[in-house]
Subunit: 139 residues, 3 copies
């Protein structure tokens, strides 16, 4: 079974969900594989992944606002604060969402649901260079 | 390495955890594979997956009640409300739990822990037609 | 494509994050595989996994303290209390973090980010015998 590695690069300017579904589909096509599973992996600890509704932006905005409220900045109990007020909340938001997702594909197409999109979730306020690793296993 | 795709269908009538461990084990047997990893994938954004204790139903009831309290309906900050009061909480509950799980198998058996069951987690109140995708990679 | 199974054993004495990155890397080397994906699987329902910053212990301490506060013991609504005050919170903390992670490898090395470590997360107060399953798929 062939293994095909690829990587995406992103430079998010602010916190939020950035859709990568089309990029993952393009890399699947480039892999030449037809059937299998793609591992989407986020190699960062202050950013994460989520598979979320991609039709109505209000759902993503509400999700972001809700999580910001669950994990507020300037928690007086935080000790890991040297890198800024948004650093520790970013790690917590990452831990509550996903670092890896495994998505099946068949006939060269991702088997996502109708309303699903794959999103990179930036949790830091300052622009960062980000990478997403894709590994396709299949045939 | 062969790739074996299968799908389960469910029609949950209310929110809650629905065990699918036996169905995944049956599909593993049907695949004819002995060693590898099965990807369990939920193609919905208002339902999710969790691997949870399957012995005592009170543990699942407490988990459900706790999550309901963490993500209450009728949050005045929600804007994505056209599909009902349980819509946005469903997306949030999904994002906090899992869309994909990867479970190893050997000698034709899922390598789950003694107390683990695989559950589909419905977050909507109205009955939905749901699907779960299974992809077995191995030999 | 070969399948290589391995297992780690741990005996955590108290709640917290226990780094297993080096053990996973050693088992990758032992597998003889060069390219692919390793599935890290936690076969317990009161412990979990997280991929977290491994440089500054204060980030892990803050993460643990934040989660302890989100899921306090002695919640009067809990009914699953026979195994102790930390039992139900352990299941909830597990459900909010991860049971499986999929991590790509290439040239015999885990493709983790610079600051990422793989951690086993014990949620119980009493010492437990714990196992972590590793399955390497690749070539």
């Amino acid at each position: 079974m062939p293994v095909h590695h690829a990587a995406l690069t992103l430079r998010p300017q602010c916190p939020g969900l950035y859709e990568i579904t089309g990029d993952v589909a393009s890399e699947l096509k480039a892999s030449g594989l037809s059937q299998g599973v793609v591992t989407v992996f986020c190699p960062h600890t202050s950013a994460s992944l989520v598979i979320m509704e991609n039709a109505d932006p209000s759902a993503r905005a509400d999700l972001q606002a809700w999580l910001d409220k669950l994990v507020p900045e300037n928690n007086p109990h935080f000790t890991h604060t040297m890198e800024g007020a948004d650093d520790m909340p970013s790690h917590i938001k990452m831990a509550l969402t996903r670092t890896s997702e495994s998505i099946p594909f068949a006939d060269g197409h991702l088997m996502l649901g109708t309303w699903q999109g794959i999103f990179f979730w930036e949790h830091r306020r300052t622009p960062h260079h980000r990478k997403i690793r894709l590994t396709f296993l299949g045939e």
